[in-house]
Structure formats: C-alpha cells, structure tokens
Symmetry: C2
Subunit: 185 residues, 2 copies
C-alpha cells in the first residue's frame, strides 16, 4: 500500500524537520528513519521541497483541528474559549515532542516571502488567526478582529518563548496577560 509509506515518510520528515530544522535534516536521514527507499520517496514527492510542503500541509490540518477541539473541550462556556486556548498551548508546550512551532521555524529558514514554504507557513498562521477570531466572536468580544489580533500576538510570543527557554510556565503567564486584555474588552 502506498499510503503507509507515504504517510510514514511525511510523519518522519516532520518530526525530524521540527527537531533539527529543515536544511539541517538530510533526505538520507529521513529515509533511514522511515525505512523507505530513496526512489520511493522521489516517486511520491518530486523534491525535498515537495516533502517539506506535504509535511507542513498535514501538520497544518492536524494542528489547527487539535487546537480547536482541545480548546473546545477545555472551555466550559463559549466565553472561556480564548482563555482555554492557552491551556491547550500549555499542553502542547509540555509535550515531549515540542520543539517550537514548525511553521515559525520554516518561515525563519525560508525568509523569502515568495518562497512556497514561507507561503505555507503564512497560510497556516492565517488559519490560526481565523480560529482565534472565531473564539473571540463566540466569546462575544466587542471588537473580535482587534481582540483576535492581540491574542494571536500573545500566542506567537508564548510559543517562541516556550521554545527558546523551555520554561513550563510560559503558557500560564501568557494566559494571565490574556485575562487582562479580555477584561478590558
């Protein structure tokens, strides 16, 4: 079955990309770890860049869906959605596999705004912002767009700081700041 190999390839690639970086991770390493022959990979994906894009695409869907559902189950009432998001972040940061946001890392390594990888990262962040905006609207924020923008920036800040320092209290402290922002409307 082709899907098994293809999926394992994408999963392994994403894990290694996330941990060691996109340029630092060689094709050979991915192939060895995934247990897949080189030509199999080059038949499924025409290039390393295509594999990167496939990995990011899968991660995009999965991560947004996970954030949404996890936040929804954590939030008791719709008004708590935005704050519950930071509890979800806390769970994310606390995981063993956490090595920062793969999209932020990608945008850092592929700085050119025309680069497909950068565009993929940008698109993901657009979806993240949209999710936050939905949460803001559900919470009945008076200015959802503005609130979402503020919370989003806090989310990115927390993500970066968590990866940089490894501090486990990062999400909780960001949540405190978010409480202040939301209380002010």
């Amino acid at each position: 079955m082709s899907l098994k190999k293809k999926d394992r390839l994408v999963d392994t690639a994403l894990r290694l990309f996330c941990r060691y970086g996109y340029r630092a991770t060689g094709i050979e390493t991915i192939l060895t770890e995934a247990g897949v022959a080189k030509m199999t990979m080059y038949n499924h994906f025409g290039s390393k860049e295509a594999l990167i894009l496939a990995a990011l695409e899968k991660r995009d869907e999965e991560h947004i869906a996970w954030l949404a559902s996890e936040t929804q189950t954590r939030a008791g009432a719709p008004e708590d959605g935005l704050l519950a998001l930071f509890d979800t972040l806390d769970a994310w940061f606390a995981g063993d596999e956490f090595h920062g946001c793969p999209f932020l890392k990608a945008s850092g390594e592929f700085d050119d705004h025309d680069d497909p990888v950068h565009r993929a990262a940008l698109a993901h962040k657009g979806r993240l912002l949209a999710l936050i905006r939905e949460l803001a609207e559900a919470a009945g924020a008076p200015d959802p767009a503005r609130t979402a923008g503020e919370i989003y920036m806090l989310v990115e800040g927390a993500t970066v700081v968590a990866q940089l320092t490894g501090d486990r209290s990062t999400a909780a402290r960001a949540k405190q700041a978010a409480e202040v922002l939301l209380a002010a409307g």
Copy 2:
C-alpha cells in the same frame, strides 16, 4: 590592520545569516561578499560556529544598546518607556534590512539547548527581558517582573509576526495591546 577585516567579516556574516539563515549561508559566500580570503577568516575564527557566535555577540551589544537609547529618546517621561519601546520596534521593523530577529532564527535552527548558539540567543533574550524590566521599574509598575514578562512576550510575538507577514502595522497593534496591559497595572 586586522580589525577592519575582522569587523567586515562579522558584519557581512551577520547580514547574510539574518537574510538567508545560518546553515543556508556558506562560508564561501560570506568571504566573497566581504572580500576576504578564506585563510584570513580561519585565522580569526577557528570555525563557522565561532563566526556565528562572534556575529551574534556583536549584534547582541549593538541591538540592546540601540533599543535602550532609541527608546529613551522617544519616551518623553519615564512612564512612557514601555510604550515607546514599541515605537522603537516599529522603526526596527520598517527598516529595509529587517528579516526578523537573528536570535530567534538562531534558536530555531540550533534547537538543542546545550548548543552554544542557542545559549547565545537565550542570553540575548535575557538581556532584552532585563531591559524591559528596567523600563517597567522606571515607569513605576506595581509588579515590574510580571509586567516585564507580559510585555516581553508581546515584543517577541510582534517580532515574529512582523517577520512572517511583513505587516507594517504590527508594532502599532502590539502597542495597543501593551497600553491595555499597562493600564491594568
């Protein structure tokens, strides 16, 4: 004189690292752009990593000093220091050379917390947090440590978003959020 070559090497290296990434930038490219022979570089710096560290060290001093002085001149009163910081950020983001924070990029590419490059990035961010805390204390914040932590996260978020999207209004929007945070004490 050795200082001229050494300095130009460090400046060129930092500029290219910032734009194309650390791993993506080859030694040869730096040497060509700086107009320096290979052996000259390897006499000054024993390795590429040493050059990276030297570039980050210089950037660390310069950037912290620039942030501090620029913010001080922009702030009318000591109470405005924290808000003026975001005006400084705005000026930084608006520059042609802006390609994100080189330390965030470094920490993304060198994820291992024991890596000297990652440690250098962490140390810089510690100094940035210290600067923000000084501003918070000067502004008479009731809980300077907490306020500084919140503002710092906002700063990192704004920096990342500015690099990712290229949006020129990022710093201004972060400033709006900071106003809310500061008004709440």
